[in-house]
Amino acid sequence: MFKVFSDLMRYNIEFAIGFFLFLFVFIFGALSFFSPVDPTQIYMLVPDIKPNAQYWFGTNSRGQDLFWQMTFAVRNSLLFGFTVAMMSRVLSLVIGLVSGYAGGWADRILMFVNDIFVSIPVFPILVLFFFVLRDDLTTLNLAILVALLGWAFDARLIRSMMLSLKHREFTQHAIFSGMPMHKIVLKEHLPYIMPIVFSTALANMIWSIGIEVTLAVLGFANISIPTFGTMLYWANNHSAMIAGIWWWILIPVVFIAMTFLGLYLLSVSLNEYIDPRQRLRRMGGGS
């Protein structure tokens, strides 16, 4: 495990950049645990101070210190993405495995449902839920909803992976040697599936944080807790751009870009690591 990591760090520039970006954002988010201020309190400070030695990121029009505000936003957004990713991974893993293994009518039904989920536009549906639930749409509820909507792509991927594993020779060997099916799946096949689950988890985090940003920017989420999206929501709400409070916009945008780029590079380079064909090409390039 460590060997893989150090190899990737040394020879895969995308991985190294992604890792450092993510590490930076992650540590920044962890700082929120040491925050001297409560992020939900408003008008605690003089509003609209430019970034300076005392307030590194300045303050916003709501009298909040943007530095600490940002740490909470990073933490909440990452946590949101992580929660969604974990929940949807469980769904896609279970559905993918069952569908790939059971085959027959179970597979057909599951894949029919899958097709519906793949072809439903997520955003209008989430807006509809917000419309109905309003204040009941807490961050956790939103995470559950997003997870329920975000498993389909990867379930299909895992299913096709399963199908091909099922027909590999070593599976036949295991069956003939009398190994029970659940044991074959857990011991022989999961090691092939897990890397995919891991790399799709990163991709899913990107997707779900993106959805949270989008919803929250429009105010279609719990706007009282700081996240990437709600920070921009309040900035827009106070017309920060027109009022010339540029740092209120710029800082969250920079952090969002860093987070997304970091996660994306990690997911891309891990994908490449998992796919030996692509690794071979890198080797062939003589880099």
Binding site: V118, P121, V122, P124
Partner: protein
């Protein structure tokens, strides 16, 4: 040909199933809403004047009949569907008594226009450049292009739209801040109007392309770098077939099949991206309509927009799927 028609018919049934279940879910979700459409409409029309309570009562009766909320849920459901199949979602609360369908139909062309231009544009340009980037892996311009798209692609649509708006309409104001056409123009087939529409579409299209291009470019590049080691490509190279021909007819042509599948799967996401981009540029499409409907509590409109969105995406995927057997002779059309 008969086979193809059968395939299309089967696929059409699937489309109907997807639309039916999607719209039904939307119906049930929206009916859990605490907002009573009748009371909301009455409040709206009686806000600024004193109205005779009897008239209010009459109005309530009429509206209740109109919205059909006085019957049990399952009956509301069947009533809802019997109206929806003829395109009637009931009157809008926001601009009562305009039928919601009118509002949706007014917004739909704008969204479809944006979607069509950006999806076709990004898919074609992205695949074309991606194929060359995958084949000529050492070309430094294509490499640089890859790095740029790679760093924009993961950013959410909203952020990219927002940044292009700030850069090209605010800091360097060369393009309009928003809207579908200049204020005061009449919607007609005149040169001035068309020009204005095009000018207002540049920024939304630009930001959608910036995000969307990467998906196809990077996907195609990865596919192509696998395909170039396939036997049929190596064989063609050994035969001295010209490079452009190999890239287009051998490499790209084979990669288009999975890219078409990817397109079908990505349309939902692109649609979501489009409606959020519309909101940033106050573009008069479905996205802006949806946000307005939510903010004003117009439940019939929210339901109508969501349903049309589900249907539109399903139809788009249906069309892409119909193209599939035409592109891949190996697919057995059953």
């Amino acid at each position: 040909m008969i086979n193809y028609l059968l395939f299309a018919a089967k696929r059409f049934l699937q489309l109907v199933a997807v639309v039916f279940s999607g719209v039904s879910v939307a119906f049930f979700v929206s009916h859990l809403s605490p907002i009573d459409p009748v009371e909301a409409a009455i409040r709206r029309s009686t806000r600024n004047s004193n109205v005779n309570p009897e008239a209010v009562e009459k109005m309530r009766e009429t509206l209740t009949a109109l919205y059909g909320v006085d019957v049990p849920m399952w009956q509301q459901f069947t009533n809802f569907w019997s109206k929806v199949v003829v395109g009637d979602f009931g009157p809008s609360l926001l601009s009562f008594p305009t039928p919601t369908m009118d509002l949706v139909l007014r917004a739909l062309p704008w969204t479809v226009g944006l979607l069509l231009v950006t999806v076709l544009g990004t898919w074609c340009i992205g695949n074309f450049l991606g194929a060359f980037a995958g084949y000529f892996q050492n070309n430094k311009y294509l490499k640089a292009f890859g790095i740029v798209t790679m760093s924009i692609q993961p950013i959410p649509y909203y952020i990219v739209a927002f940044l292009t708006l700030i850069l090209l309409a605010f800091i360097w104001p060369i393009l309009p801040l928003g809207g579908g056409y200049a204020i005061g123009l009449v919607q007609e087939w005149s040169w001035v109007f068309v020009l204005s529409v095009m000018k207002h579409a540049i920024l939304p299209i630009l930001s959608l392309i910036l995000v969307g291009l990467g998906l196809w470019f990077l996907g195609m590049r990865a596919l192509v770098s696998n395909i170039i080691s396939e036997d049929y490509v190596v064989f063609a190279e050994l035969a001295g077939v010209s490079k452009p021909k190999i890239v287009i007819s051998y490499v790209m042509r084979n990669a288009l099949v999975p890219q078409l599948t990817a397109l079908a799967m990505a349309i939902g996401g692109i649609f979501s991206g489009t409606i959020i981009t519309e909101q940033v540029f106050s573009y008069p499409g479905l996205g802006s309509l949806l946000v307005r409907a939510v903010n004003s509590g117009d439940y019939t409109l929210v339901l109508a927009v969501s349903s049309v969105a589900v249907a539109a995406v399903a139809v788009a995927i249906f069309i892409v799927d119909l193209l599939h057997p035409l592109l891949d002779p190996r697919i057995k059309v059953e």
